[in-house]
Point group: C2
Chain length 251, copies 2
DNA sequence: CCGATTTTGTTCTCACGTTCACAAGCTCCT
DNA sequence: AGGAGCTTGTGAACGTGAGAACAAAATCGG
Protein backbone atom coordinates (compact mmCIF):
# COMPACT_ATOMS: atom_id res chain seq x y z
CA UNK A 1 0.00 0.00 0.00
CA UNK A 2 2.96 2.31 -0.42
CA UNK A 3 1.92 3.15 -3.95
CA UNK A 4 -0.96 5.13 -2.54
CA UNK A 5 0.69 8.43 -3.37
CA UNK A 6 0.34 7.82 -7.08
CA UNK A 7 -3.39 7.18 -6.98
CA UNK A 8 -5.97 9.66 -8.06
CA UNK A 9 -8.86 9.99 -5.61
CA UNK A 10 -11.40 8.95 -8.22
CA UNK A 11 -14.04 6.28 -7.75
CA UNK A 12 -13.17 3.34 -5.44
CA UNK A 13 -11.05 1.67 -8.16
CA UNK A 14 -13.58 -0.96 -9.08
CA UNK A 15 -11.74 -3.89 -10.59
CA UNK A 16 -13.36 -4.77 -13.89
CA UNK A 17 -17.03 -5.36 -13.03
CA UNK A 18 -16.58 -5.43 -9.28
CA UNK A 19 -19.66 -4.06 -7.56
CA UNK A 20 -19.24 -2.44 -4.14
CA UNK A 21 -20.18 -4.76 -1.32
CA UNK A 22 -22.77 -2.36 0.07
CA UNK A 23 -24.48 -2.33 -3.30
CA UNK A 24 -24.43 -6.12 -3.61
CA UNK A 25 -26.21 -6.34 -0.30
CA UNK A 26 -29.02 -4.13 -1.60
CA UNK A 27 -29.53 -5.77 -4.99
CA UNK A 28 -31.67 -8.56 -3.52
CA UNK A 29 -33.88 -5.92 -1.94
CA UNK A 30 -34.36 -4.24 -5.28
CA UNK A 31 -35.05 -7.59 -6.85
CA UNK A 32 -37.80 -8.27 -4.38
CA UNK A 33 -39.29 -4.82 -4.84
CA UNK A 34 -39.31 -5.29 -8.59
CA UNK A 35 -41.00 -8.64 -8.26
CA UNK A 36 -43.68 -7.08 -6.11
CA UNK A 37 -44.25 -4.30 -8.64
CA UNK A 38 -44.35 -6.81 -11.42
CA UNK A 39 -46.94 -8.87 -9.57
CA UNK A 40 -49.03 -5.73 -9.23
CA UNK A 41 -49.00 -5.39 -12.97
CA UNK A 42 -46.78 -2.32 -13.00
CA UNK A 43 -44.60 -2.21 -16.10
CA UNK A 44 -42.48 0.88 -15.54
CA UNK A 45 -41.15 2.52 -12.40
CA UNK A 46 -39.04 5.58 -11.69
CA UNK A 47 -36.07 5.49 -9.36
CA UNK A 48 -38.25 7.31 -6.87
CA UNK A 49 -40.93 4.61 -7.00
CA UNK A 50 -38.39 1.85 -6.69
CA UNK A 51 -36.53 3.55 -3.90
CA UNK A 52 -39.72 3.91 -1.91
CA UNK A 53 -40.58 0.26 -2.42
CA UNK A 54 -37.09 -0.79 -1.38
CA UNK A 55 -36.84 1.58 1.56
CA UNK A 56 -33.83 3.53 0.36
CA UNK A 57 -33.07 6.94 -1.02
CA UNK A 58 -33.46 7.36 -4.76
CA UNK A 59 -29.98 8.73 -5.41
CA UNK A 60 -28.47 5.70 -3.78
CA UNK A 61 -30.65 3.41 -5.82
CA UNK A 62 -29.66 5.09 -9.06
CA UNK A 63 -26.00 4.88 -8.20
CA UNK A 64 -26.35 1.24 -7.25
CA UNK A 65 -28.06 0.43 -10.53
CA UNK A 66 -25.47 2.38 -12.46
CA UNK A 67 -22.85 -0.19 -11.45
CA UNK A 68 -24.77 -2.78 -13.43
CA UNK A 69 -25.10 -0.68 -16.55
CA UNK A 70 -27.50 1.84 -18.01
CA UNK A 71 -30.74 0.01 -17.83
CA UNK A 72 -33.06 2.95 -17.38
CA UNK A 73 -34.54 5.47 -19.78
CA UNK A 74 -34.20 9.16 -18.95
CA UNK A 75 -37.47 10.93 -18.64
CA UNK A 76 -39.27 7.60 -18.25
CA UNK A 77 -37.80 5.29 -15.64
CA UNK A 78 -37.00 1.60 -15.58
CA UNK A 79 -38.84 -1.21 -17.27
CA UNK A 80 -39.72 -3.48 -14.38
CA UNK A 81 -39.34 -6.86 -16.07
CA UNK A 82 -36.19 -5.94 -17.88
CA UNK A 83 -34.47 -4.55 -14.79
CA UNK A 84 -35.62 -7.48 -12.75
CA UNK A 85 -33.98 -9.86 -15.15
CA UNK A 86 -30.76 -7.87 -15.25
CA UNK A 87 -30.46 -7.82 -11.47
CA UNK A 88 -31.32 -11.51 -11.19
CA UNK A 89 -28.63 -12.28 -13.72
CA UNK A 90 -26.06 -10.10 -11.99
CA UNK A 91 -26.75 -11.76 -8.64
CA UNK A 92 -26.73 -15.16 -10.25
CA UNK A 93 -30.21 -16.38 -9.38
CA UNK A 94 -31.21 -17.05 -12.95
CA UNK A 95 -29.60 -20.40 -12.34
CA UNK A 96 -30.31 -22.67 -9.38
CA UNK A 97 -27.79 -23.11 -6.61
CA UNK A 98 -27.67 -26.37 -4.72
CA UNK A 99 -27.81 -25.96 -0.94
CA UNK A 100 -27.32 -28.34 1.97
CA UNK A 101 -28.59 -27.65 5.47
CA UNK A 102 -26.59 -29.15 8.32
CA UNK A 103 -28.18 -29.46 11.73
CA UNK A 104 -31.87 -30.26 11.74
CA UNK A 105 -32.93 -28.82 15.07
CA UNK A 106 -35.70 -26.28 15.44
CA UNK A 107 -34.12 -23.78 13.14
CA UNK A 108 -33.02 -26.33 10.54
CA UNK A 109 -36.57 -27.61 10.53
CA UNK A 110 -37.93 -24.14 9.98
CA UNK A 111 -35.57 -23.43 7.12
CA UNK A 112 -36.29 -26.78 5.49
CA UNK A 113 -39.97 -25.93 5.46
CA UNK A 114 -39.39 -22.39 4.25
CA UNK A 115 -41.54 -22.69 1.15
CA UNK A 116 -39.99 -21.54 -2.08
CA UNK A 117 -36.81 -20.92 -0.16
CA UNK A 118 -37.01 -17.24 -0.71
CA UNK A 119 -37.13 -15.89 -4.20
CA UNK A 120 -36.16 -19.11 -5.89
CA UNK A 121 -32.70 -19.55 -7.36
CA UNK A 122 -31.88 -22.02 -4.61
CA UNK A 123 -32.61 -25.69 -4.29
CA UNK A 124 -32.21 -27.63 -1.06
CA UNK A 125 -30.65 -30.92 -2.03
CA UNK A 126 -30.11 -32.40 1.41
CA UNK A 127 -30.89 -32.07 5.09
CA UNK A 128 -28.09 -33.51 7.20
CA UNK A 129 -27.69 -34.33 10.84
CA UNK A 130 -25.28 -36.47 12.80
CA UNK A 131 -27.94 -37.61 15.27
CA UNK A 132 -29.09 -41.14 14.31
CA UNK A 133 -32.47 -40.45 15.88
CA UNK A 134 -33.14 -37.74 13.34
CA UNK A 135 -31.83 -39.54 10.27
CA UNK A 136 -34.72 -40.84 8.23
CA UNK A 137 -37.25 -38.33 9.49
CA UNK A 138 -39.31 -36.80 6.72
CA UNK A 139 -39.64 -33.04 6.43
CA UNK A 140 -41.85 -31.90 3.62
CA UNK A 141 -40.78 -33.98 0.67
CA UNK A 142 -37.26 -34.55 1.97
CA UNK A 143 -35.68 -37.01 4.31
CA UNK A 144 -32.97 -36.24 6.83
CA UNK A 145 -29.74 -37.98 5.87
CA UNK A 146 -26.62 -38.82 7.78
CA UNK A 147 -23.97 -36.16 7.97
CA UNK A 148 -21.46 -38.81 6.89
CA UNK A 149 -22.96 -38.66 3.41
CA UNK A 150 -21.92 -35.03 3.06
CA UNK A 151 -18.97 -35.58 0.72
CA UNK A 152 -20.97 -37.76 -1.66
CA UNK A 153 -23.82 -35.32 -1.81
CA UNK A 154 -21.63 -32.30 -2.38
CA UNK A 155 -19.89 -34.01 -5.25
CA UNK A 156 -22.97 -35.54 -6.84
CA UNK A 157 -25.15 -32.45 -6.67
CA UNK A 158 -22.39 -29.89 -7.13
CA UNK A 159 -23.30 -28.18 -3.89
CA UNK A 160 -21.63 -24.81 -3.45
CA UNK A 161 -23.63 -23.37 -0.55
CA UNK A 162 -23.91 -24.82 2.94
CA UNK A 163 -26.16 -23.64 5.75
CA UNK A 164 -25.06 -24.38 9.31
CA UNK A 165 -27.87 -24.61 11.85
CA UNK A 166 -26.11 -26.72 14.44
CA UNK A 167 -25.44 -25.61 18.01
CA UNK A 168 -22.28 -23.62 18.59
CA UNK A 169 -20.26 -26.62 19.69
CA UNK A 170 -19.95 -28.66 16.50
CA UNK A 171 -20.21 -25.68 14.15
CA UNK A 172 -16.51 -25.23 13.40
CA UNK A 173 -16.07 -28.92 12.77
CA UNK A 174 -19.07 -29.00 10.45
CA UNK A 175 -17.71 -25.94 8.71
CA UNK A 176 -14.34 -27.61 8.16
CA UNK A 177 -16.01 -30.68 6.72
CA UNK A 178 -18.10 -28.55 4.37
CA UNK A 179 -15.07 -26.69 3.14
CA UNK A 180 -13.06 -29.88 2.71
CA UNK A 181 -15.92 -31.35 0.72
CA UNK A 182 -15.79 -28.43 -1.68
CA UNK A 183 -18.44 -26.02 -0.42
CA UNK A 184 -17.27 -22.45 -1.01
CA UNK A 185 -20.07 -20.38 0.52
CA UNK A 186 -21.42 -20.77 4.01
CA UNK A 187 -24.35 -19.25 5.82
CA UNK A 188 -23.85 -19.66 9.55
CA UNK A 189 -26.63 -19.49 12.13
CA UNK A 190 -24.56 -20.91 14.97
CA UNK A 191 -23.45 -18.33 17.54
CA UNK A 192 -19.72 -18.69 16.96
CA UNK A 193 -17.09 -17.02 14.86
CA UNK A 194 -16.12 -19.55 12.23
CA UNK A 195 -12.76 -19.45 10.54
CA UNK A 196 -12.47 -20.47 6.92
CA UNK A 197 -9.63 -20.42 4.40
CA UNK A 198 -9.34 -17.71 1.77
CA UNK A 199 -11.66 -18.18 -1.13
CA UNK A 200 -14.54 -19.33 1.03
CA UNK A 201 -17.26 -16.79 1.71
CA UNK A 202 -19.05 -16.81 4.97
CA UNK A 203 -22.02 -14.87 6.25
CA UNK A 204 -23.51 -14.95 9.69
CA UNK A 205 -27.03 -14.57 10.98
CA UNK A 206 -27.25 -14.18 14.71
CA UNK A 207 -30.49 -13.60 16.52
CA UNK A 208 -29.03 -12.68 19.86
CA UNK A 209 -26.67 -10.13 18.36
CA UNK A 210 -29.57 -8.44 16.61
CA UNK A 211 -31.52 -8.32 19.84
CA UNK A 212 -28.57 -6.87 21.69
CA UNK A 213 -28.16 -4.12 19.14
CA UNK A 214 -31.83 -3.27 19.60
CA UNK A 215 -31.37 -3.35 23.36
CA UNK A 216 -28.56 -0.83 23.14
CA UNK A 217 -30.71 1.69 21.32
CA UNK A 218 -33.68 0.87 23.52
CA UNK A 219 -31.65 1.66 26.60
CA UNK A 220 -30.67 5.04 25.26
CA UNK A 221 -34.28 5.89 24.49
CA UNK A 222 -35.73 5.08 27.87
CA UNK A 223 -32.63 6.00 29.80
CA UNK A 224 -31.53 9.30 28.28
CA UNK A 225 -30.00 10.99 31.32
CA UNK A 226 -31.46 8.38 33.66
CA UNK A 227 -28.64 5.90 33.18
CA UNK A 228 -27.40 4.28 36.37
CA UNK A 229 -24.78 7.02 36.38
CA UNK A 230 -21.57 5.14 35.68
CA UNK A 231 -21.40 2.30 38.16
CA UNK A 232 -17.77 2.02 37.23
CA UNK A 233 -16.65 0.41 40.43
CA UNK A 234 -14.28 3.33 41.05
CA UNK A 235 -11.69 1.36 43.01
CA UNK A 236 -10.19 -0.20 39.91
CA UNK A 237 -6.52 0.16 40.56
CA UNK A 238 -4.90 -3.23 40.55
CA UNK A 239 -6.32 -6.20 38.76
CA UNK A 240 -5.70 -8.57 41.62
CA UNK A 241 -8.11 -7.10 44.12
CA UNK A 242 -11.05 -6.89 41.78
CA UNK A 243 -14.47 -7.15 43.32
CA UNK A 244 -16.19 -10.17 41.89
CA UNK A 245 -18.36 -8.33 39.46
CA UNK A 246 -19.12 -11.17 37.17
CA UNK A 247 -21.08 -14.34 37.05
CA UNK A 248 -24.17 -12.35 37.64
CA UNK A 249 -24.74 -10.48 34.43
CA UNK A 250 -28.31 -11.60 34.46
CA UNK A 251 -28.77 -11.34 38.19
CA UNK B 1 -25.29 21.87 7.13
CA UNK B 2 -23.83 25.16 5.93
CA UNK B 3 -21.71 25.47 9.04
CA UNK B 4 -19.49 22.73 7.73
CA UNK B 5 -16.73 25.16 6.89
CA UNK B 6 -15.98 25.86 10.53
CA UNK B 7 -15.51 22.23 11.53
CA UNK B 8 -12.20 20.56 11.93
CA UNK B 9 -12.05 17.09 10.33
CA UNK B 10 -11.35 15.45 13.65
CA UNK B 11 -13.12 12.38 15.03
CA UNK B 12 -16.76 11.81 13.98
CA UNK B 13 -18.03 14.39 16.51
CA UNK B 14 -19.54 11.86 18.84
CA UNK B 15 -22.31 13.53 20.79
CA UNK B 16 -21.79 12.88 24.45
CA UNK B 17 -21.53 9.10 24.80
CA UNK B 18 -22.71 8.18 21.33
CA UNK B 19 -20.96 5.07 20.12
CA UNK B 20 -20.53 4.55 16.37
CA UNK B 21 -23.04 2.15 14.91
CA UNK B 22 -20.36 -0.15 13.53
CA UNK B 23 -18.92 -0.46 17.02
CA UNK B 24 -22.30 -1.13 18.58
CA UNK B 25 -22.78 -4.02 16.17
CA UNK B 26 -19.52 -5.57 17.33
CA UNK B 27 -19.99 -5.20 21.07
CA UNK B 28 -22.23 -8.29 21.30
CA UNK B 29 -19.51 -10.27 19.56
CA UNK B 30 -16.96 -9.13 22.10
CA UNK B 31 -19.39 -9.94 24.86
CA UNK B 32 -19.76 -13.47 23.62
CA UNK B 33 -15.99 -13.89 23.24
CA UNK B 34 -15.46 -12.64 26.78
CA UNK B 35 -18.06 -15.05 28.10
CA UNK B 36 -16.31 -17.91 26.34
CA UNK B 37 -12.94 -16.88 27.79
CA UNK B 38 -14.49 -16.53 31.20
CA UNK B 39 -16.00 -20.01 30.96
CA UNK B 40 -12.55 -21.33 30.12
CA UNK B 41 -11.29 -19.88 33.38
CA UNK B 42 -9.19 -17.18 31.72
CA UNK B 43 -9.03 -14.08 33.89
CA UNK B 44 -7.05 -11.67 31.73
CA UNK B 45 -6.79 -11.22 27.98
CA UNK B 46 -4.86 -8.88 25.70
CA UNK B 47 -6.51 -7.05 22.85
CA UNK B 48 -4.77 -9.52 20.56
CA UNK B 49 -6.33 -12.50 22.34
CA UNK B 50 -9.75 -10.93 22.34
CA UNK B 51 -9.51 -9.87 18.73
CA UNK B 52 -8.64 -13.39 17.68
CA UNK B 53 -11.56 -14.80 19.63
CA UNK B 54 -13.92 -12.25 18.13
CA UNK B 55 -12.58 -12.54 14.61
CA UNK B 56 -11.50 -8.95 14.21
CA UNK B 57 -8.28 -6.99 14.04
CA UNK B 58 -6.79 -5.92 17.36
CA UNK B 59 -6.50 -2.23 16.50
CA UNK B 60 -10.18 -2.13 15.70
CA UNK B 61 -11.04 -3.89 18.92
CA UNK B 62 -9.03 -1.45 20.99
CA UNK B 63 -10.61 1.50 19.28
CA UNK B 64 -14.06 0.04 19.81
CA UNK B 65 -13.40 -0.49 23.50
CA UNK B 66 -11.99 2.99 23.86
CA UNK B 67 -15.43 4.42 23.14
CA UNK B 68 -16.68 2.81 26.33
CA UNK B 69 -13.87 4.12 28.49
CA UNK B 70 -10.40 3.04 29.57
CA UNK B 71 -11.08 -0.38 30.92
CA UNK B 72 -7.76 -1.99 30.11
CA UNK B 73 -4.39 -1.92 31.81
CA UNK B 74 -1.36 -1.07 29.72
CA UNK B 75 1.23 -3.77 29.66
CA UNK B 76 -1.30 -6.27 30.98
CA UNK B 77 -4.53 -6.40 29.04
CA UNK B 78 -8.18 -6.53 30.02
CA UNK B 79 -9.71 -8.20 33.03
CA UNK B 80 -12.21 -10.55 31.46
CA UNK B 81 -14.98 -10.35 34.06
CA UNK B 82 -14.71 -6.63 34.49
CA UNK B 83 -14.77 -5.88 30.79
CA UNK B 84 -17.61 -8.30 30.27
CA UNK B 85 -19.68 -6.49 32.84
CA UNK B 86 -18.90 -3.09 31.35
CA UNK B 87 -19.90 -4.16 27.87
CA UNK B 88 -23.05 -5.87 29.14
CA UNK B 89 -23.98 -2.68 30.94
CA UNK B 90 -23.28 -0.51 27.93
CA UNK B 91 -25.42 -2.70 25.69
CA UNK B 92 -28.10 -2.85 28.33
CA UNK B 93 -28.28 -6.58 28.93
CA UNK B 94 -27.63 -6.35 32.63
CA UNK B 95 -31.35 -5.86 32.85
CA UNK B 96 -33.95 -8.09 31.22
CA UNK B 97 -35.91 -6.90 28.21
CA UNK B 98 -39.40 -8.22 27.66
CA UNK B 99 -39.98 -9.61 24.17
CA UNK B 100 -43.07 -10.74 22.29
CA UNK B 101 -42.96 -13.00 19.25
CA UNK B 102 -45.72 -12.55 16.72
CA UNK B 103 -46.38 -15.28 14.20
CA UNK B 104 -45.90 -18.81 15.45
CA UNK B 105 -45.12 -20.65 12.24
CA UNK B 106 -42.02 -22.71 11.75
CA UNK B 107 -39.66 -19.90 12.50
CA UNK B 108 -41.63 -18.51 15.42
CA UNK B 109 -41.63 -22.02 16.86
CA UNK B 110 -37.90 -22.28 16.45
CA UNK B 111 -37.27 -18.95 18.14
CA UNK B 112 -39.65 -19.77 20.97
CA UNK B 113 -37.66 -22.90 21.70
CA UNK B 114 -34.32 -21.16 21.35
CA UNK B 115 -33.03 -22.05 24.76
CA UNK B 116 -31.66 -19.23 26.85
CA UNK B 117 -32.66 -16.89 24.07
CA UNK B 118 -29.11 -16.09 23.31
CA UNK B 119 -26.94 -14.59 25.95
CA UNK B 120 -29.73 -13.85 28.37
CA UNK B 121 -30.87 -10.27 28.92
CA UNK B 122 -34.11 -11.08 27.12
CA UNK B 123 -37.28 -12.68 28.33
CA UNK B 124 -40.02 -13.91 26.03
CA UNK B 125 -43.25 -12.89 27.68
CA UNK B 126 -45.70 -13.97 25.00
CA UNK B 127 -46.12 -15.92 21.79
CA UNK B 128 -48.87 -14.46 19.69
CA UNK B 129 -50.72 -15.58 16.61
CA UNK B 130 -53.98 -14.59 14.98
CA UNK B 131 -54.79 -18.14 13.90
CA UNK B 132 -57.36 -19.62 16.35
CA UNK B 133 -56.04 -23.11 15.58
CA UNK B 134 -52.68 -22.18 17.04
CA UNK B 135 -53.91 -20.30 20.07
CA UNK B 136 -53.62 -22.47 23.14
CA UNK B 137 -50.85 -24.66 21.79
CA UNK B 138 -48.06 -25.21 24.27
CA UNK B 139 -44.47 -24.55 23.27
CA UNK B 140 -41.96 -25.30 25.96
CA UNK B 141 -43.42 -23.72 29.06
CA UNK B 142 -45.43 -21.14 27.19
CA UNK B 143 -48.79 -21.09 25.54
CA UNK B 144 -49.66 -19.38 22.27
CA UNK B 145 -52.04 -16.49 22.91
CA UNK B 146 -54.34 -14.53 20.67
CA UNK B 147 -52.85 -11.59 18.83
CA UNK B 148 -55.76 -9.52 20.07
CA UNK B 149 -54.22 -9.59 23.55
CA UNK B 150 -51.19 -7.71 22.28
CA UNK B 151 -52.01 -4.33 23.77
CA UNK B 152 -52.72 -5.77 27.22
CA UNK B 153 -49.53 -7.75 27.24
CA UNK B 154 -47.35 -4.89 26.08
CA UNK B 155 -48.71 -2.66 28.79
CA UNK B 156 -48.67 -5.22 31.58
CA UNK B 157 -45.21 -6.58 30.92
CA UNK B 158 -43.68 -3.35 29.67
CA UNK B 159 -42.67 -4.95 26.40
CA UNK B 160 -40.29 -2.84 24.35
CA UNK B 161 -39.10 -5.38 21.78
CA UNK B 162 -41.24 -7.20 19.26
CA UNK B 163 -40.18 -9.99 16.92
CA UNK B 164 -42.16 -10.45 13.72
CA UNK B 165 -42.12 -13.95 12.27
CA UNK B 166 -45.31 -13.77 10.24
CA UNK B 167 -45.45 -14.20 6.46
CA UNK B 168 -44.85 -11.09 4.39
CA UNK B 169 -48.53 -10.33 3.94
CA UNK B 170 -49.62 -9.34 7.45
CA UNK B 171 -46.20 -8.08 8.55
CA UNK B 172 -46.80 -4.36 8.07
CA UNK B 173 -50.14 -4.54 9.84
CA UNK B 174 -48.62 -6.45 12.73
CA UNK B 175 -45.83 -3.91 12.83
CA UNK B 176 -48.29 -1.03 13.03
CA UNK B 177 -50.14 -2.72 15.87
CA UNK B 178 -46.90 -3.30 17.75
CA UNK B 179 -45.88 0.32 17.37
CA UNK B 180 -49.31 1.59 18.35
CA UNK B 181 -49.19 -0.62 21.43
CA UNK B 182 -45.94 0.99 22.51
CA UNK B 183 -43.23 -1.31 21.22
CA UNK B 184 -40.22 0.75 20.15
CA UNK B 185 -37.83 -1.86 18.79
CA UNK B 186 -38.66 -4.45 16.18
CA UNK B 187 -36.80 -7.40 14.80
CA UNK B 188 -38.33 -8.38 11.48
CA UNK B 189 -37.95 -11.80 9.87
CA UNK B 190 -40.67 -11.26 7.27
CA UNK B 191 -39.39 -10.61 3.76
CA UNK B 192 -40.77 -7.09 3.41
CA UNK B 193 -39.54 -3.58 4.01
CA UNK B 194 -41.47 -2.33 7.00
CA UNK B 195 -42.03 1.35 7.57
CA UNK B 196 -42.07 2.69 11.08
CA UNK B 197 -42.29 6.18 12.56
CA UNK B 198 -39.23 8.00 13.87
CA UNK B 199 -38.13 6.82 17.25
CA UNK B 200 -38.81 3.19 16.48
CA UNK B 201 -35.80 1.05 15.70
CA UNK B 202 -36.10 -1.76 13.27
CA UNK B 203 -33.70 -4.49 12.23
CA UNK B 204 -34.21 -7.09 9.60
CA UNK B 205 -33.04 -10.65 9.24
CA UNK B 206 -33.62 -12.10 5.82
CA UNK B 207 -32.50 -15.56 4.84
CA UNK B 208 -33.05 -15.22 1.14
CA UNK B 209 -31.11 -11.98 0.95
CA UNK B 210 -28.15 -13.60 2.67
CA UNK B 211 -28.28 -16.50 0.25
CA UNK B 212 -28.43 -14.16 -2.72
CA UNK B 213 -25.38 -12.27 -1.52
CA UNK B 214 -23.53 -15.56 -1.28
CA UNK B 215 -24.76 -16.50 -4.75
CA UNK B 216 -23.35 -13.31 -6.20
CA UNK B 217 -19.88 -14.07 -4.91
CA UNK B 218 -20.23 -17.72 -5.81
CA UNK B 219 -21.02 -16.80 -9.37
CA UNK B 220 -17.90 -14.69 -9.67
CA UNK B 221 -15.77 -17.51 -8.32
CA UNK B 222 -16.94 -20.24 -10.66
CA UNK B 223 -17.67 -17.96 -13.55
CA UNK B 224 -14.64 -15.69 -13.67
CA UNK B 225 -14.48 -14.96 -17.41
CA UNK B 226 -16.98 -17.70 -18.18
CA UNK B 227 -20.02 -15.53 -17.59
CA UNK B 228 -22.79 -15.91 -20.19
CA UNK B 229 -21.19 -12.92 -21.89
CA UNK B 230 -23.73 -10.17 -21.44
CA UNK B 231 -27.08 -11.47 -22.64
CA UNK B 232 -28.26 -7.91 -22.66
CA UNK B 233 -30.98 -8.39 -25.23
CA UNK B 234 -29.35 -5.81 -27.48
CA UNK B 235 -32.54 -4.62 -29.14
CA UNK B 236 -33.54 -2.46 -26.20
CA UNK B 237 -34.58 0.73 -27.89
CA UNK B 238 -38.15 1.52 -27.05
CA UNK B 239 -39.90 0.27 -23.96
CA UNK B 240 -43.04 -0.76 -25.80
CA UNK B 241 -41.62 -3.52 -27.93
CA UNK B 242 -39.79 -5.30 -25.18
CA UNK B 243 -39.32 -9.03 -25.54
CA UNK B 244 -41.05 -10.80 -22.69
CA UNK B 245 -37.97 -11.42 -20.64
CA UNK B 246 -39.63 -12.01 -17.35
CA UNK B 247 -41.81 -14.47 -15.60
CA UNK B 248 -39.19 -17.08 -16.09
CA UNK B 249 -36.40 -16.10 -13.77
CA UNK B 250 -36.34 -19.57 -12.37
CA UNK B 251 -37.25 -21.40 -15.52
C1' DC C 1 15.23 2.80 41.92
C1' DC C 2 15.82 2.32 36.87
C1' DG C 3 15.67 0.46 32.39
C1' DA C 4 13.59 -3.11 29.43
C1' DT C 5 9.36 -4.96 27.95
C1' DT C 6 4.65 -5.27 27.16
C1' DT C 7 0.26 -3.58 25.81
C1' DT C 8 -3.13 -0.01 25.80
C1' DG C 9 -5.29 4.34 24.04
C1' DT C 10 -5.08 7.54 20.38
C1' DT C 11 -3.68 10.06 16.27
C1' DC C 12 -3.28 10.21 11.41
C1' DT C 13 -4.22 8.72 6.92
C1' DC C 14 -6.58 6.29 3.52
C1' DA C 15 -10.66 3.83 1.70
C1' DC C 16 -15.40 3.36 1.40
C1' DG C 17 -20.23 4.77 1.41
C1' DT C 18 -23.87 8.28 1.10
C1' DT C 19 -25.99 12.32 -0.52
C1' DC C 20 -26.44 16.46 -3.27
C1' DA C 21 -26.84 18.63 -7.41
C1' DC C 22 -26.85 18.98 -12.19
C1' DA C 23 -25.90 18.01 -17.13
C1' DA C 24 -27.41 14.70 -20.55
C1' DG C 25 -31.03 12.56 -22.77
C1' DC C 26 -35.70 11.06 -23.64
C1' DT C 27 -40.79 12.04 -24.46
C1' DC C 28 -44.63 14.75 -25.35
C1' DC C 29 -47.13 18.73 -26.74
C1' DT C 30 -47.79 22.61 -29.64
C1' DA D 1 -39.58 21.08 -35.71
C1' DG D 2 -38.72 22.97 -31.34
C1' DG D 3 -39.25 23.83 -26.59
C1' DA D 4 -41.01 22.29 -21.94
C1' DG D 5 -40.84 18.90 -18.57
C1' DC D 6 -39.15 14.61 -16.49
C1' DT D 7 -35.89 11.32 -14.98
C1' DT D 8 -31.55 9.07 -15.36
C1' DG D 9 -26.56 8.75 -14.71
C1' DT D 10 -22.60 10.76 -12.55
C1' DG D 11 -19.18 14.17 -10.64
C1' DA D 12 -18.05 16.22 -6.39
C1' DA D 13 -18.43 17.00 -1.40
C1' DC D 14 -19.08 15.06 2.93
C1' DG D 15 -19.16 11.77 6.58
C1' DT D 16 -18.02 7.31 8.54
C1' DG D 17 -15.00 3.32 9.17
C1' DA D 18 -10.53 0.71 9.09
C1' DG D 19 -5.79 0.09 9.91
C1' DA D 20 -0.90 1.47 10.73
C1' DA D 21 1.89 3.47 13.84
C1' DC D 22 3.33 5.47 17.98
C1' DA D 23 3.38 7.75 22.61
C1' DA D 24 1.84 6.84 27.28
C1' DA D 25 1.49 3.88 31.11
C1' DA D 26 1.98 -0.22 33.61
C1' DT D 27 4.81 -4.46 35.14
C1' DC D 28 9.00 -6.94 36.03
C1' DG D 29 13.85 -8.07 36.79
C1' DG D 30 18.11 -6.61 38.52
Amino acid sequence: MTRASSRRPGPPTRTERGIPEATVARLPVYLRALTALSDSGIATASSEDLATAAGVNSAKLRKDLSYLGSYGTRGVGYDVEYLRYQIAREIGVTQDWAVVIVGIGNLGHALANYSGFGTRGFRIVALLDADPNLVGERIGDMEVRDFAELEDIVETDRVSIGVITTPAGPAQEVCDRLVAAGVTSILNFAPVVLSVPDGVDIRKVDLSIELQILAYHEQRKSGEAALPQVPELPAMNGLTDLPSVGGGVGA
